[in-house]
């Protein structure tokens, strides 16, 4: 197949697929595509939504017709070859691992024939690109989880996972921004708010960021929880 691939997604959407598989190169392509499509802004584009290997353009068909937009986007994407990207924003997420914060840490350790301490060390030494957000507001789809600490989903999802829970599901790790049902194996919890709807900047994490986790003690968890906005 030829990339980029242009497809309509309904009467107000253009889906551009940039790469066939999830990898670091695809991540950079999506970042570049967002950059060249956003600057300068195009009248009629409502929002540009990144995926693992796609950018989705939501637009106003009263201003732009599909063909017109597709032609314009194709032209803009040529600049991907020359654009220089700023380095990704780095966001450090403090996490209290294990205990009540991460009830599935022993399972993840046993499943991988490791000690819980090993799992924490591996998880907090990784770097995780944020491919996209979704599922619930501010939920990051992260790449970069080590093969050594992967674990299957729960057979029966929990009906209540608290906000801030950090989990593992197969080759993915993620953070629950709002309380919701969920089937990921919970290894820890962050005291930071990922979604703060009343704030001027409601989201802690943005697509294209680079996340690292920092292990903290339960008392540090409480301290951050009390002092963070």
């Amino acid at each position: 197949m030829q990339y980029p691939l242009f497809q309509p997604l309904g009467d107000r959407g253009l889906l551009v697929t940039l790469a066939p598989a999830i990898d670091e190169e695809g991540f950079q392509k999506v970042r570049k595509a967002r950059q060249v499509l956003t600057h300068p802004a195009v009248e009629g584009i409502i929002e540009i939504i990144p995926g693992y290997v796609t950018v989705f353009i939501l637009y106003d068909p009263m201003i732009l017709a599909f063909q017109q937009l597709a032609a314009m986007v194709e032209k803009r994407l040529v600049d991907m070859q020359t654009v220089t990207l700023p380095s990704p924003r780095k966001v450090v997420i403090p996490v209290a691992y294990g205990g009540d914060f991460g009830p599935d840490l022993p399972f993840v350790a046993a499943h991988n024939h490791l000690s819980p301490e090993d799992v924490v060390a591996i998880h907090s030494n990784g770097r995780y690109p944020v491919y996209m957000l979704g599922f619930t507001p501010g939920f990051p789809y992260l790449g970069g989880l080590s093969e050594k600490i992967q674990a299957p989903r729960l057979e029966t999802p929990r009906t209540h996972v608290p906000a801030g829970a950090v989990g593992i599901a197969n080759n993915q790790t993620g953070i629950y921004p709002v309380a919701s049902p969920g089937g990921w194996r919970l290894i820890g919890r962050t005291p930071l708010k990922l979604f703060n709807p009343g704030a001027a900047a409601p989201f802690l994490i943005q697509p294209g960021d680079l996340i690292t986790f920092r292990a903290i003690s339960p008392s540090e968890y409480d301290h951050i929880r009390e002092t963070a906005p």
């Binding site: 997604l9 009467d11 693992y52 290997v53 796609t54 989705f56 979704g134 709807p197």
Partner: protein, 314 residues
């Protein structure tokens, strides 16, 4: 601002909705907003609201409301048998109410959803540019949830006089079997029997809400060489997702990302009409090209602008 209703009984699922919350899908915040945009817009014109005023979206079983301030209100959408003080309440027309009046609903007769508008629109805080309720995210409307008994609903100050009734010939009928036009793709060629999809009506199941409509009908069969799921990507309202069991799910307005293959996307105006179907109703799909679909959408949006001029007195 002015308290306009006291909620005596909330109904099955009644939420404050406006046009929707745009610009935050990249952060995982869905648009939400009124499912039947046509009825929502007309409901606002009837009470002299030109723009994106918040209304009550009422689902199947309506609420019981006590009027606490005089003013102009209107109902548009499905016929849920509204009554004003024991008498049938007119729909698709402005109605003057006074303090102490009681509005209630005696059950669905046509459609699935109705929109109750007040002059000025309902007054709840704007969250990220919209007043629409998104319960899963806990934002918009009244504390991010459907209304409940005891709530006091307030209105903002209206700028225009009450509007005029919608001419009878423009009132939509809500048949229990409709045709929805579908723009094929992006994964339409994943399926072996797309012909069956277009030739046989699908039934709306009991799992039908603002998140999505699960349908029952001919199984869509995946070709042998394709995976049953795709790399997750952005989705839009009206997208027809097909999970491994082959039974399609039409997404409505509360999901931003999907990992299932999509046979196509229902056109915007037909999605508004689909939202008036309830469990047991039927939908037949028909393919349409994107350019033709966009022409139809432009036409209906232009018609709505004309209606605004026709119905508003300002």
């Amino acid at each position: 601002m002015t308290a306009v209703f006291k909620v005596l009984f909330p109904g099955a699922f009644t939420t404050i909705q406006d046009e929707g919350r745009f610009g935050y899908q990249a952060f995982g915040v869905p648009a939400s907003g009124s499912l039947d945009f046509y009825a929502y817009r007309v409901a606002n014109f009837l009470v002299g609201n030109s723009g994106d005023a918040a209304t009550l979206e009422i689902t199947v079983l309506g609420p019981k409301l006590e009027v606490t301030a005089p003013g102009c209100i209107a109902l548009a959408g499905g016929n849920l048998q509204p009554f004003l003080n024991q008498l049938p309440m007119p729909q698709w027309a402005p109605v003057e109410v006074k303090k102490g009046d009681v509005i209630l609903f005696k059950g669905v007769k046509t459609g699935c959803r109705a929109y109750l508008s007040v002059e000025g629109g309902f007054d709840v805080p704007e969250v990220m540019g919209s007043r629409s309720t998104y319960p899963k995210g806990g934002i918009g409307g009244i504390s991010g949830r459907p209304i409940k008994a005891g709530d006091v609903l307030r209105k903002r100050k209206g700028n225009n006089p009450c509007g005029k009734a919608l001419p009878e010939n423009l009132i939509p009928s809500y048949p229990r079997e409709i045709t929805c036009h579908v723009i094929p793709g992006p994964q339409v060629d994943f399926f072996e029997n797309i012909g069956d999809f277009y030739n046989t009506p699908y039934e709306v199941t009991s799992k039908a809400d603002r998140m999505g409509y699960r349908l029952k009908g001919p199984c869509l069969v995946f070709k042998k060489e394709v995976p049953a799921s795709i790399i997750s990507e952005a989705i839009v309202p009206g997208a027809i997702q097909v999970p491994a069991d082959g039974q399609p799910i039409v997404l409505m307005v509360e999901q931003t990302v999907g990992g299932y293959a999509k046979a196509g996307v229902i056109t915007t105006p037909d999605r508004w009409r689909l939202a008036q179907l309830r469990p047991g109703d039927k939908v037949l799909f028909e393919p349409v090209g994107v350019l033709e679909a966009q022409k139809q959408l432009r036409d209906i949006l232009t018609d709505l602008e004309k209606l605004k001029t026709l119905l508003m007195r300002a």
